[in-house]
Subunit: 196 residues, 2 copies
DNA sequence: TGAGGTTCTTGTTCCAGTTCAATGAACGCA
DNA sequence: TGCGTTCATTGAACTGGAACAAGAACCTCA
């Protein structure tokens, strides 16, 4: 077992539940390592999402895209984040989102067919993933409220504050797509900021 | 046990899992009946949400409200819907939303302190509530995408299609607050619609 | 029965954010 | 080394929706 590769994910789930050593090993044994080159898709709308992916290295993005070409970024995932379409994963329904790599990335996947067994072997995990779901829900509520109630400039400030590292790691037009504005307008917001 | 009062909620959870009669009785015994008069608050931001409420009769609304007076409606709940702040409920954290009655309403509450016992007595319930959480998440994703990518008119059409009964049951300025627009603008959208 | 609060509408003005177009910078890639 | 492509910036014209203001149509309850 490659200790270095798995140190981070153990730290991640241990934040919720402390696992004894043998359960950690059970958990790690269920993981699948996957490398995704830059710009490659990990999930396409219409497919069933059969994984939850922990980003060990690199950067991913999930987004929605409708038939009119309207696009909106749901989430960026860098080191120590999870990316997945949880709704599709849990319900086995076709996904409505896309997930792609923004950089060459290394992921640790939990496949759906291993999940039940894993819950039995490592009881604490159920709590971990329930927490993930709830964090997700809370973040989405905040996001919806901000999108509905705040002007773009405030949303951009909030984004910079919450994800300081992302702003010079992902292309700007994708940040615009996260904020729900055009790339041109984001550019103007930035120009305005420097003046202040 | 008042059969009539509980017929609907049994139907509601049975959609997910069929429960044997004795488990149904366990479930019903854990419920608390609560009447909320029109305009009365059920939950205020800052409080911990210690219930999940099934709307047996009436109509509720949950919404966010920030220090600048910005308001956004998260959800309407009429008969056969659940309303709660699940994030606060599950994590015991102070809520960030308000819930109020739009009509005199009868609710069936599950209190947080009864939940653990209930899961033990009625194993199928865990699945039911997980499904609720996931439906919630999915709905919120759709909503965020629509808010970011669609013009107000399209969002209004989608609202009418998805909740045909609500449009003449809920005051219009609250529908506007659900759509993320001003009441005045919604009024103009409606005027425009009639012309077509 | 009215009087006073809601709720909805309509018009005008104004601004945040879009669209379109042009330019330049940065980045693979042969 | 050069060349096509993607990406960021800037400007001008436009528009969806907000803000403000005023009137009309209501509940509702003393």
């Amino acid at each position: 077992m490659n200790e270095e590769r798995y140190a981070r994910i153990i730290g991640n789930i241990s934040r919720c539940t402390a696992l004894p050593y043998d359960q950690q090993q059970h958990f790690l044994a269920a993981l699948e390592v996957k490398h995704v080159p830059k710009k490659a898709p990990l999930l396409r709308a219409g497919e069933v999402c059969d994984f939850e992916a922990y980003v060990n290295k690199g950067c991913m993005r999930s987004y929605f895209l409708d038939e009119h070409g309207h696009e909106a970024t749901l989430q960026f995932g860098t080191e120590d984040w999870w990316v997945s379409d949880l709704v599709s994963f849990e319900q086995g329904a076709p996904s409505r989102m896309f997930i792609e790599a923004l950089e060459d990335s290394e992921l640790l996947l939990i496949r759906r067919d291993k999940k039940e067994q894993l819950y039995r072997d490592v009881p604490g995990l159920e709590r971990v993933f329930r927490m993930m779901l709830l964090r997700n829900l809370g973040a989405l509520q905040d996001r919806l409220f901000a999108t509905m109630a705040w002007p773009a400039e405030d949303r951009y400030e909030a984004f910079l504050k919450r994800f300081p590292d992302l702003s010079n790691r992902v292309p700007q037009h994708m940040i615009a797509s996260y904020l729900g504005i055009t790339p041109e307008f984001l550019s103007k917001l930035r120009a305005r900021r420097v003046g202040k």
